[in-house]
């Protein structure tokens, strides 16, 4: 392999690595978003219906 070829090959590999990396990040990003969407769906089901009233009615005396 000539020096020129070696450099060319390294460049190609690096480009491939980088595009792989971007693909992995995108895939991870999509997966995270899908997971979050599922989680938000689940929270939607269990979250107290009248948030305003739920929050307003929660009044504590200080403790400790």
């Amino acid at each position: 392999m000539t020096e020129q070829e070696r450099i060319q090959r390294q460049r190609t590999e690096r480009t491939r690595d980088e595009s792989d990396e971007v693909a992995v990040v995108n895939k991870k990003g999509e997966q995270l978003k899908a997971e979050l969407d599922d989680l938000l769906d689940e929270i939607d089901v269990v979250l107290e219906e009248n948030a305003e009233e739920f929050v307003r009615n929660y009044v504590q005396k200080g403790g400790e």
Binding site: L47, V59, Q60
Partner: protein, 495 residues
């Protein structure tokens, strides 16, 4: 020489519902519900309590002792914990534990105790009076209640050095172990007007050092009530922490603090970073800025953010462990686990929060708050987002949001169930737990450092337990294995 870092957490739970929406009544119903299950009928003994004693050596004349209402439910559990009504909250004080990992287990046992008590209480209440419990620290309207940690510290460490060494940690650890909060609820909080905070508790602190816990709350509490031999031990009572739902956060909160106390005991204060010149301001500013950009100046004019402080303190702890080990805190394996999580959570909150949403409460909470906000195009601090914040801490598994966000578990459900019933073997809590389990009819009362027996004839017999590192399975297991009667046990201990 570092003393064994015996430790534990006391948690006041938020309580809603019940007759007349009276929190004290609801709290009593909860504690009685658990007691009436037949798990314990032994009451707490207040004889040795002196919460007004100040570690600085003077009795604070202006500080009132906490209101003690002996008619309220107040019991000792078979796992060595105390379950009672403190002011207007049900409180679970975990038994004394030997390591942060064990103390995390017994903190979760407390959640299970509350869940069971709640189930029993609600069975006897009509639908409109159902009670709910929250493991959190405030009501969003300026009322706060505590999650207090306790650590055994050598008496010969000067209290001023405890302050000097630990203030940097207490103002900055929220960056990894904060529970998160939507909005603000105090005057200073409203002035800063954050959409989201790292810590639920930070904005309630007004002093650096003091005896109070309910007014003018201090970052370092000086209550000097060691519940042990005061000539050898202090109990550092830490009141500035958040109630964590993430067990790993509880582990790191306890582990990092215990390790730094061990550094202080062995190496002194020399290598600790200088505290911010205005610690209360730093505590709040750090909390108000989840982007982690807020900085504070120390006396020398050096600027650090909460992250920088934690990074320095982590390296200090790590170097200490490399040089001296940390047998006073836990096994090598457990100490390595604590350091690893602490490091990963610290790097994670700065560089890739999504990777630590399974361990850092504020990151997990913020993720769902922001998710909801963008899904429904809500204004910051919308009631729905506040509802998410509150319900994150609901103790009922079918309602809890913390139970849904994928927090990493470090103990199995079976271990937690076991810890509800059985005391840790590693401290005097073992002796207390065994006595309460075996001799419920012969014990008049118990507290942290003694048990009072009524053996049927003659005066009541008080068994002192002034050293929290004794009374362990190793030291007393054989005695209990003999299946003695209470009379014989007391005779054997007195002999």
């Amino acid at each position: 020489m570092a003393v064994s870092k015996i430790l534990g957490i006391e948690t006041e739970y938020g309580v809603a519902g019940g007759p007349d929406h009276d929190p004290t009544t609801a709290s009593s119903i909860i504690v009685n519900a658990y007691a009436q299950q037949g798990r314990t009928r032994i009451s707490w003994d207040f004889n040795d309590e002196s919460p007004g004693t100040d570690a600085r050596g003077v009795l604070g004349g202006s500080s009132l002792a906490p209101m003690i209402e002996t008619h309220l439910a107040n019991t000792v559990l078979t796992n060595g914990a105390r379950l009672y009504v403190d002011h207007a909250h049900p409180e679970y004080s975990s038994p004394e534990c030997r390591t942060p990992f064990e103390a995390t287990l017994y903190d979760q046992a407390g959640e299970e105790v509350m869940r069971r008590a709640l189930r029993v209480a609600n069975e006897s209440l009509p639908p409109e009076l159902q009670i709910t419990l929250y493991k959190n620290n405030s009501d969003g309207k300026g009322n706060s209640y505590g999650t207090h940690e306790n650590y055994l510290v050598a008496r010969d460490v000067e209290f001023a050095d405890v302050v000097r060494a630990m203030v940097p940690h207490f103002v900055s650890r929220q960056v990894v172990v904060g529970a998160g909060k939507v909005g603000a609820e105090t005057e200073v909080g409203h002035a800063a007007n954050p959409d989201f905070q790292l810590s639920a508790r930070a904005e309630f602190f007004e002093e650096v050092v003091g005896l109070e816990t309910t007014l003018k709350r201090p970052i370092i509490n000086t209550r000097d009530e060691p519940h042990s031999d005061a000539s050898r031990f202090r109990r550092l009572h830490v009141i500035c922490g958040d109630a964590n739902m993430s067990p790993t956060a509880t582990l790191v909160k306890l582990g990092s603090t215990a390790l730094l106390l061990a550094v202080l005991e062995v190496e002194g204060v020399r290598d600790f970073p200088l505290a911010p010149a205005r610690p209360v301001r730093a505590l709040r500013d750090f909390s108000f800025d989840p982007s982690l950009r807020a900085v504070a100046l120390d006396e020398d004019g050096r600027s650090r953010g909460a992250w920088d402080y934690q990074d320095e303190l982590w390296h200090l702890a790590r170097r200490h462990v490399d040089r001296h080990g940390a047998g006073a805190v836990a096994s090598d394996e457990e100490v390595a686990m604590i350091l690893r999580h602490w490091r990963e959570m610290l790097d994670g909150v700065r560089d890739h929060p999504e990777d630590v949403a399974d361990r850092v409460d504020w990151v997990a909470k913020l993720r769902i708050v922001e998710g909801f906000q963008s899904r429904y195009n809500l204004a910051a601090r919308d009631a729905k987002l506040r509802a998410i914040d509150l319900q994150y801490h609901d103790v009922r598994r079918d309602k809890s949001l913390a139970a849904r966000v994928g927090l990493r578990q470090i103990h199995s459900d079976e271990e937690i169930r076991e810890a509800v019933a059985v005391a840790p073997r590693s401290t005097r809590a073992y002796f207390r737990g065994e006595c309460v389990t075996r001799f419920p009819d012969d014990i008049v009362s118990a507290n942290w450092d003694s048990i009072v027996f009524d053996v049927g004839h003659g005066p009541l017999q008080r068994i002192p337990m002034m050293d929290p590192t004794r009374g362990t399975y190793e030291l007393t297991g054989e005695l209990f294995a003999q299946n003695l009667t209470a009379v014989a046990l007391v005779a054997a201990l007195n002999g």
